[in-house]
């Protein structure tokens, strides 16, 4: 038994679900491969696993490029983490679109502002 929720809520719930499922599958595959390939079951925090040199979008673009090159545990994990982090971002975009279609300009403004702030945070910081 539950109350009737808006189309936006159903959409956002769906986006979160897909993001979570995809990232969970990729991260699990990556970690499993990591354990099998290295025979290592502890986290060694070596420099190879550290992402360096750039903001989140640099991380995203280098991840997408790398996954085309090889399906290494690191690249699979990176893709999982990238999808995970993009999930909340995508649901804000969904908010902007939904309120735009509804012509609810107050909330179009609010969601657009959030989107602008997050984008600034991801690009500039």
């Amino acid at each position: 038994m539950s109350v009737k929720v808006s189309f936006l809520s159903l959409g956002i719930s769906w986006i979160l679900r897909v993001g979570v499922t995809l990232s969970l599958a990729l991260e699990s595959a990556g970690v499993l491969l990591y354990c099998i390939q290295t025979g290592n079951q502890s986290l060694d925090l070596s420099a190879a696993w550290q992402f360096k040199g750039g903001n989140f979008f640099d991380f995203a673009t280098s991840t997408v490029r790398a996954i085309g090159g090889s399906l290494s545990p690191l690249n699979i994990m990176s893709l999982g983490v990238m999808i995970l982090m993009l999930t909340p971002y995508v649901r804000v975009i969904a908010g902007v679109i939904y309120y735009g279609v509804q012509k609810d300009w107050k909330y179009v403004g609010i969601t657009l502002f959030v989107l602008a702030v997050i984008t600034t945070g991801l690009v500039v910081l």
Partner: protein, 279 residues
Amino acid sequence: MIGVLFALLFAILAGFIGSILGLGGALILTPILVYFGVPIQYAIAASMVAIIATSSGAASSYVRDGLSNVRAAFYMETFTAVGAIVGASLTGYIVLVHAEALLYYVFAAFLATSFLALGKMRNRELPEVNQDGMAKWLKLEGSYYDKPAKKQIDYKLTRPALAGPGMFFAGVAAGMLGIGGGAFKISVQEMIMGMPSKVSTATTNFIQGMTALAGASVYFTSGFVYLDLAAPLAIGTTVGSLLGARVLPNLTNRTVRSVFLIVLVVLIIDMVWKGMTAP
């Protein structure tokens, strides 16, 4: 160093508790990681990624059930997102001027205030709210099906103008400390806006991922993100949060608030301790 399996297990626990209480789980994750020798910056960075996992995992259920108030969340994100970026940017500066102790005391004082205010409301299942003009204008209200009460609860929220700065402060705390942001958000929503405890937990879970994302880029740029640490933690907190999201709807608002009050005490002690030991 920590074993993968062990990291998974305590991340599941962190995600479970986090999703029920509206705390990202960093409160549990960061100290354990530090205890096992992970440098604090790396621990906070990995926790940030884990928070996003807890948030999305739990909120995927809460939003569908109408337990997260999406409208209120978007409104408050305008403040928490800015706060998170300001907080993350200020961290270096605060260390530079040796104001960490002061910062921790300010946060502790705020949490102590909310402990007192929420303590008074301890036995009330639902708050009584007179909605003000701005809240009406923003249509800040909602309804959810309450399983323990076996009925639909319609609620209204109030004072968004006052909640805004509070949410900004919560964002600063999250961006700066990497922990405690959830406790601030819950306090603001319940004390100022009159949100029912369960809705507050669920809405905070929803917002949390966004606040963490806003601050997370700093950690990427600084090279603090280790994927072999972040990925197992994210797996664990996701699984934990999916489990927790099945539990919360069955609890009463009173139970949720009582457990939250205990966590508040732990947080206050933690902050005062950090203030006393800060350089």
